[in-house]
Subunit: 327 residues, 4 copies
Amino acid sequence: MLGRGVWSTLRQGLSRGLSRKVGGWASGERRKMDIAGIYPPVTTPFTATAEVDYGKLEENLHKLGAFPFRGFVVQGSNGEFPFLTSIERLEVVSRVRQAMPKDKLLLAGSGCESTQATVEMTVSMAQVGADAAIVVTPCFYRGRMSSAALIHHYTKVADLSPIPVVLYSVPANTGLDLPVDAVVTLSQHPNIVGIKDSGGDVTRMGLIVHKTGRQDFQVLAGSAGFLLASYAVGAVGGVCALANVLGAQVCQLERLCLTGQWEDAQKLQHRLIEPNTAVTRRFGIPGLKKTMDWFGYYGGPCRAPLQELSPTDEEALRMDFTSNGWL
Amino acid sequence: MLGRGVWSTLRQGLSRGLSRKVGGWASGERRKMDIAGIYPPVTTPFTATAEVDYGKLEENLHKLGAFPFRGFVVQGSNGEFPFLTSIERLEVVSRVRQAMPKDKLLLAGSGCESTQATVEMTVSMAQVGADAAIVVTPCFYRGRMSSAALIHHYTKVADLSPIPVVLYSVPANTGLDLPVDAVVTLSQHPNIVGIKDSGGDVTRMGLIVHKTGRQDFQVLAGSAGFLLASYAVGAVGGVCALANVLGAQVCQLERLCLTGQWEDAQKLQHRLIEPNTAVTRRFGIPGLKKTMDWFGYYGGPCRAPLQELSPTDEEALRMDFTSNGWL
Amino acid sequence: MLGRGVWSTLRQGLSRGLSRKVGGWASGERRKMDIAGIYPPVTTPFTATAEVDYGKLEENLHKLGAFPFRGFVVQGSNGEFPFLTSIERLEVVSRVRQAMPKDKLLLAGSGCESTQATVEMTVSMAQVGADAAIVVTPCFYRGRMSSAALIHHYTKVADLSPIPVVLYSVPANTGLDLPVDAVVTLSQHPNIVGIKDSGGDVTRMGLIVHKTGRQDFQVLAGSAGFLLASYAVGAVGGVCALANVLGAQVCQLERLCLTGQWEDAQKLQHRLIEPNTAVTRRFGIPGLKKTMDWFGYYGGPCRAPLQELSPTDEEALRMDFTSNGWL
Amino acid sequence: MLGRGVWSTLRQGLSRGLSRKVGGWASGERRKMDIAGIYPPVTTPFTATAEVDYGKLEENLHKLGAFPFRGFVVQGSNGEFPFLTSIERLEVVSRVRQAMPKDKLLLAGSGCESTQATVEMTVSMAQVGADAAIVVTPCFYRGRMSSAALIHHYTKVADLSPIPVVLYSVPANTGLDLPVDAVVTLSQHPNIVGIKDSGGDVTRMGLIVHKTGRQDFQVLAGSAGFLLASYAVGAVGGVCALANVLGAQVCQLERLCLTGQWEDAQKLQHRLIEPNTAVTRRFGIPGLKKTMDWFGYYGGPCRAPLQELSPTDEEALRMDFTSNGWL
């Protein structure tokens, strides 16, 4: 059942969303929302009985609030959103909105398989307080997800969303790369402000920056493993799972890149690659949550079918941090 | 809102499910449910405004009821289930139950990403009248979907399902093959009766038949393109999108295989490959629905982001049927 | 240096090839060479110092000559042909010609990356006694190997070859499937008699049989794992690595298929899948050669960089044979 | 037949190679050869009758000699080496040695499928004047190319090579990534000086730089599309097909990176991505050679089975240059 928190926020959010729309892209304002910076994709804490643990979520947020992040991504791939009910998805966003510092951005994942459901979820996300929506590509029918189909999908969502939309391409999960030509077309939409690209192909990222240069369109790296290289080709920030545990370091890497200290940036980047791979591709969310436990956050269990790490995997995970001097 | 149909069926189904459980695997009965035969995976008709058109669904069912199918698969990949709400998923199954002949089986797709949601949907599917549940592999976190994780998932679902469970592997949609060792382990569960395998790898299918031979475990081909070959290696039936338009022919192919008329079977199989590919991999559900329109059923539009075929694609689709003598 | 054997055979082969050409496809004869039946793809034995061991090759051939094979494939993927010099490739074929029974066919792999080299190797293979050439798809520039490029390649080779040409598609090695439309076009060439298809996709194989039906074009399964299914969809034989060690059984499977004893065929097929996978995809040529040692043939070492099996792998290999009753 | 050029160079090269070995890694010298800088991978010009056109090769070299390249790669993937005979491979290298400026490096591709053939080709390449050998991964048996097998292969080659060895990973052609753990192990070999990595995964490249930091091991980007990003993560140069036509620009990009002018570097990098993709992944060597014709070099035809571009493709190729201001 929908908790009190989400309902009251829904009411508030509704008015915020409306006012924002009036003052936003629909009114012909020229500049798109600035989303530059580092975001941790927040994990969803669960109790031992697999209920969402909102208390632990807030505790984590308070700790993460200490870092100079630009904001938080909620319901990204690391948020286990496919395992949450619609109500839970909204409630989590609502709680994060309340727990996080006022001056930071809340980017909420609102992607669903159908266009209609995505529109509805996006509107609801705005109502519970999201500043922008991150919309993952639909993927179950990937064989039919042509550029035309994806352009149609995202245009519809952006047309109807009261908040700015960020495209989200994450081929490791979806088996689908949002094609560059679709990204370029979509960049012209006044309510589409950027893309979170988790594929790690910097040639592609550079090309997207190049081809969308006149559209005020912003590229965020989807992982800390290629953050430096992404800045080098023109990205303006990153959504980095690793920032959930090495928040200071990822923000330091951002600063080194922005201030042109490339040598130090390179050294730091190098030491972040293995830990980053460990909490993403290699050991997934179970690895990320286990590491959060080590670093003073609440990681806890994942929902099934995600399984806990084996002792061997846990040892390898630890080694990826210790060998780089982080544990 | 939940229609009257689904609620009344939920009540009836609840008692059916319970009685079935008492008389089913839980009571120590030895034989698993026999699921041999041909099933069309029913499409979900939509109105021009993208509402589920239950009237057209029933009309299609009445027409399909004329063929010697073993039953119907509802909410398979061709049913656009990822685009339906939970309520719609149940309502569609409920309506099919009412519209279809009493002596046929209703296999309902109940797969969700989380184990818990899959359990709940499976129980609900039983309540609205499904005879068995077809459970697709979770796939968003495919990098973590090890055999152990999948065995855990399906065991939990089968433990708690009041109706038999059919595994469902469809790598074209999920990017994931349910590993043979997991299938073999799961075949030993008394409430797991078989697998629908849509991958088209008959070496794998033969191996599954071989390794599960003592478990009374049944393999269904997931496509008409390799139906003959599947029978040859020991499959007992098929869930064939093509049966939605060439129902008589697919059933004839079954009969030729079962009666050992391999030469005629081969000739017929050959003429079905291109039409089958056309309504599956090549043109997807939009192709299948367009063809249904040609063959006297209601196909109609898909929900977005699936797009209509272009005129060029439609022409190529038609050619795949005409060149093989079916149009 | 070229041994005496190859030179004398080159001379003889030259005249054979010429006379064959005069009496062959070039003269307008209608029927293509019949290549139906089972072929082991002969391995190349090496000494401890990695020299070709022609003596062991002949011994193996004498033993294999006892089975009702249609003939032998020499320089298929299992022949380690990419590790042989041109001279060695010809010498091996020459020796096999001399050692093998006169009434059997010798199919020699003559594929190279360039069209010109393939033509030359094909002509040379004819000269040293090959009855037909099996020509693998060029693959290093697979991104440019369009249907048009492959049709051009094979047409040139077939135009200039004094012996019939068999297409050879083996995606596990080449990363490339010879497209069906290219196969259909090439089937019309009077000197292209068939295809060895090792991909294992029986839908594709059935379609090839269907679309080339009027061209007297023959399909050979490239592996014993899907031999039964291949016969079911219209193949006329197989080139089976497993036939190097279970020759009698593979020939028995052929007989069961040809005489319509599908039930017994299915049982036998099932017991061959794991051993077949073991000596092909799972453990490769090192696995096949190790098994040959067990079954009374000379397997011996591979050329580097192929490595010997580890003891653990060897144990798993043995299990794949013992658990199916073959060891 | 081997021309005079190659023989005389073989003689000279032999003594150079020997003397180099005495003064090289074998004598315990600590520093590895410095290979930092930009290299065009030279194409092999052919006449209308598909003979190697050595005159045109020399003309191209003279023109390319004007740019501040570090040297030339001969027989890389762009050199159509799989289409050349062994003699042609050596003769081409010999001619390049003679035609190129004395102060530049000649890196010769010497990879073959077998370890033994690769050793022999590497020794011969040294004899005809190569300063270092670039050795592509063997790939036909990619299913068996474990880290252990590849470590064994490269160790053997490096042990026996009179010149330094550069590893070469090009998954688009080989379907195989040289695993990072193998690279790290091999970096410790005193005669292995670096890797040319064409995969474009900068996370991987950064990790290789990080893990081989103490081994004096150098990473070269295998393409101009990710050259800036590669420098950012620690690469020291690049082997760039695009340098065959936009040599000045690629060298300018190098200079901007080395002098820390990242903003200008980024702008230039952006304008090189599409032209680079056009002459590599998109249109391959036929695209590169066509562009060479436009830019005042001799491109000419490729050897079959590579086909000329269609007029449509040629138009698209031209557009990739014009739209970025290069034509």
